[in-house]
């Protein structure tokens, strides 16, 4: 019994529990904090898949950036309302049936699909391979991504301009 299954099941338990808390808890602010936990656990899953670079990106961009932005948005939109940051859910039965049906369908496909079970050994440095592939075969999408981020930045600036 190696350490790997223990790490996987522990991470999976934390990930699923915090994700359920994100969609079920009533306090919106707690919901965001559980999302931060869930994103951090995802970084752990990436680590267990030998993708150290992606784990670092996940921590920096998601758990650092996204959570900060969401907290900021909650503070801005809930301050003027005045009452507690509670949120209610609607159509719980419909949501449960739809997402449950999708889950069952996907799991049935998994059972029938011929999936590779053997995990190949890591050949060389994965981070180096990602960097090389990013700047050779995927250089055009990489540059387009820069344009997209610029457009998003300008768009956010435009939205956030003061009322005149």
């Amino acid at each position: 019994m190696s350490l790997e299954p223990i790490a996987f099941w522990g991470l999976a338990a934390v990930l699923l529990a915090s994700s359920l808390a994100v969609v079920l808890t009533r306090n919106l602010f707690h919901s965001v904090l559980y999302l931060a936990l869930s994103l951090t656990a995802t970084a752990g899953v990436f680590l267990s898949l030998d993708a150290e670079f992606l784990a670092a990106v996940q921590l920096l961009l998601y758990a650092g950036g996204v959570v900060t932005i969401v907290v900021f948005a909650i503070v801005v939109t809930e301050r003027l309302v005045g009452d507690r940051i509670t949120q209610t859910s609607r159509q719980i039965l419909t949501g449960f049936i739809l997402s449950g049906a999708l889950l069952v369908a996907v799991l049935v496909v998994f059972r029938r699909a011929p999936l590779t079970v053997l995990r190949p050994a890591v050949s060389g440095d994965l981070t180096r391979a990602i960097g090389e592939s990013l700047l050779t075969s995927y250089v055009l999408p990489f540059e387009l991504l820069g344009v997209l981020l610029l457009a998003a930045l300008l768009g956010a600036l435009y939205f956030a301009r003061p009322d005149d």
Partner: protein, 99 residues
């Protein structure tokens, strides 16, 4: 762990996120559900990349993460803008297009 275990984990995560998107009333809560769904997709991409020995999936994950961050920033900017105009962050109250 097998590829099947990772895919099942991602499928569970995706369905939890979908449940959140379908049931939440607050616009920010809906965005959090979308985050969970995108997260599940990233786990799938990395798992396939690792098990098939092809680094393209991981490159694609880098793209997906960057685009998601841009999407969240703009989505929340829209939420704040709508809140300024309509004084609400509840999705059901934004029924301007209702005839």
């Amino acid at each position: 762990m097998t590829l099947q275990a990772y895919l099942t984990l991602a499928a569970l995560l995706f369905c939890i996120g979908l449940f959140g998107v379908l049931t939440r009333r607050n616009t920010i809560g809906i965005l959090l559900g979308i985050e969970l769904m995108l997260n599940a997709v990233n786990i799938n991409l990395v798992a396939f990349a690792r098990f098939l020995g092809d680094v393209s999936g991981m490159v694609f994950t880098v793209f997906a993460i960057c685009i998601t961050v841009a999407e969240v920033a703009l989505g929340l900017a829209l939420v704040i803008l709508i809140f300024r105009i309509r004084r609400t962050a509840i999705a059901d109250h934004l029924d301007l297009l209702k005839g």
